[in-house]
């Protein structure tokens, strides 16, 4: 019997440990990632129950949300912690201590590979096709870019996985988004996903797992695929997935935690079976033509308020907060800050994209531009290519890795009433600091806007190649 199955289905079914009527499936979890904010109470739960961690090798920790992205006076980030607020400091030290106690490898403050949880793991080859991956963080869907089932969970669920390697989960419905046409020159993954969210809405994906397909996705780098899967949650879906291919395997080859030698060959052979079969049935199929896609930016306080860079700002109650005027073109809107970073766009390809536009140019007067690499690995690679110099010469800041201005939990924030063009994923009220105004965009659009001091179309800037 050969029934056509979806990619999601193949992975889910191979991870069901127990299935009983009237109950959610007990699903086996291959990899759990933890960070300082949503894990401390989960460790306490284990202590309370006198339990060890089921398999410490299947958990990796890192610090990202609360760490300062500036160095202390002695050039050390740990010393900067002294100046961070007391609770942030406690959360970070607690994670390092908890990991040590339970035998979990922690990419803590002193580890040069640490970074935003959804950046550092793919960097190291921890994220692999066919896996089930969880993290106490809603943007865990990022890892689906490798053809894995990856989703965000609550703190109790974090403890369940720590203690049993399993979770009770009900299978979501399936959605296929098929992109038609090729991405026009000057547009990329961020524009594609913002366009998609604008089309289906912030709750369009609720209760679904979304598979992304079509030439536009196939042509994307792994970084681009991660950008798309990352923002799946902004459309209400907890899962986003892309079938693995040569691009995926090339990314993984020789990465620290990727299989090696014969095991690698066997793994790749198995990964090649991870795709939705011809004729597989989805609960919902959406086709989106991308051949007219423009660079996208948001005008409101939800990611679905994305419009093309040459569009006019539509009327909306959200303009009360965002301070924009209906009827005006969005291009030309003044900005005060530029943030390049986050688990959406803090990877090497994103930094290259921004640097290419900034090379030999200056950030406009009165604009503060902050570049925060997604991880230590990304930071080192970027520095090896001289990207840090490009940013610094242009007048931007080059920081230590972390979540930083994506959610402003670490002391970095945008002042009330100021506007930031940001490569992150959420433009909610107050997300970048109380009263802050956020415009979401791609690294290219953010960099072009930095130069002009106003929202600008990156396609209209000439680029100096290195």
């Amino acid at each position: 019997m050969s029934e056509a199955r979806t990619l999601f289905d193949k992975i889910w079914e191979s991870h069901v440990v127990v299935r009983e009527p009237g109950m959610p499936d007990a699903l086996y979890i291959d990899l759990q990632l933890i960070h300082e904010v949503t894990s401390p109470q989960a460790f306490d739960e284990l202590r309370k129950r006198n339990l060890p961690v089921w398999d410490p090798n299947r958990i990796k920790g890192t610090v990202d949300h609360c760490n300062p992205t500036r160095l202390g006076p002695d050039g050390d980030e740990r010393s900067a912690l002294i100046y961070a607020d007391e609770n942030s400091r406690k959360q970070i030290l607690k994670l390092e201590k908890n990991c040590k106690e339970f035998g979990i490898e922690c990419f803590g403050l002193d580890n040069s590979a640490r970074g935003v949880v959804h950046v550092f793991a793919p960097d190291l080859g921890l994220t692999q096709p066919g896996m089930t991956i969880v993290c106490g963080d809603s943007h865990t869907a990022t890892h689906g870019a490798f053809g894995s089932i990856a989703f965000g969970i609550g703190t109790s669920e974090v403890s369940h996985v720590m203690g049993t390697q399993c979770l009770f989960q009900s299978k979501p419905k399936s959605m296929l988004i098929r992109y038609i046409g090729e991405l026009p020159h000057g547009t990329g993954a961020k524009d594609l996903i913002l366009y998609t969210i604008a089309k289906i809405g912030v709750s369009g994906g609720t209760n679904y797992a979304i598979e992304y397909s079509g030439d536009a996705v196939r042509s994307l780098s792994m970084e681009g695929r991660m950008t798309i899967c990352n923002m799946t949650i902004e459309a209400g879906a907890r899962f986003g997935i892309v079938a693995p291919d040569e691009t995926t395997f090339a990314w993984l080859k020789n990465k620290k935690f990727a299989p090696k030698g014969e095991v690698w060959d066997k793994a790749v052979a198995a990964w090649r079976n991870l795709y939705s079969d011809e004729g597989a049935v989805f609960d919902k199929v959406i086709e989106i033509d991308v051949s007219k896609l423009e660079p996208m930016v948001t005008y409101g306080t939800t990611p679905e308020t994305a419009i093309g860079i040459s569009d006019i700002i539509p009327d909306s109650e959200m303009l009360n907060y965002s301070g924009l005027k209906a009827g005006n073109p969005i291009a030309g809107t003044e900005i005060d800050y530029v943030f390049i970073g986050s688990c959406t766009n803090g990877r090497l390809a994103d930094l290259r994209e921004a640097a290419e536009i900034l090379r030999g140019k200056k950030v406009a007067d009165g604009v503060q531009m902050i570049v925060v690499p997604g991880s230590g690995t990304v930071k080192r690679q970027a520095e090896a290519e001289g990207l840090d110099k490009v940013f610094l010469k242009a007048g931007a800041e080059w920081r230590e890795p972390g979540c930083s201005l994506c959610l402003s939990m670490n002391g970095d924030f945008i002042e009330a009433g100021k506007r930031c063009i940001s490569t992150s994923n959420r433009n909610f009220e107050g997300r970048q600091g109380p009263g802050s105004r956020t415009i979401l965009a791609s690294p290219a659009t953010a960099a072009a806007s930095a130069i002009k001091g106003v929202i600008s179309d990156p396609r209209q800037l000439e680029v100096h190649h290195a």
Binding site: V17, A26, Y28, E45, D55, Q91, S156, G163, Q165, F168
Partner: protein
Amino acid sequence: MREPYNTVTGKVLYLPIDNIDTDQIIPARFLKTVTKEGFGELLFHDHRYDEEGNPNQEFAINQYPGNVAEILFAGDNFGCGSSREHAPWALTGYGIRTVIAPSFANIFKNNSAKNGLLLIELDEQPYQALKQIVENNKDVDVTVDLPRQQIHADGSDFSFEIYPFLKTCLIKGVDEFGYLLNLSDRIKAFESARGER
């Protein structure tokens, strides 16, 4: 193991307001913490205390001196907003074991299930009838009989629906974690079938 939920009789904290979000249940500024403890004191903080930190006597919770209500009677879409699990922690920390409302937000539902907090979604007609009873007598004893899926108050009975698995967990006093731990042999078998361990 947590305290098994069988039949609970108690006073009602009466808050029939729609769209009570997680920020009202537990304000965001209290989240930077490393424990689950102490949230009961902070439940409905900004309604419960005035700016000087004195109890606001207008607010329902302060009208039950020394008499912690175990049942919260709320309005539609209770628990909307962020995914913070601190919201159920605050409710159970205070001593609430049951919330009755016309509907609950999705993520809040999920998080409550993990914390032994019974959420009862009542249809319009029984909801309004129960509301009348409590409104007329704030001191009424309400009984929630989970095995029979019934609420008794002032001589009236109202039945409710619940996901069978959740009911089992609550009645046995095992949460999902306990349930998963009971599966450890099967988890090990799964691992060895995959050629691990």
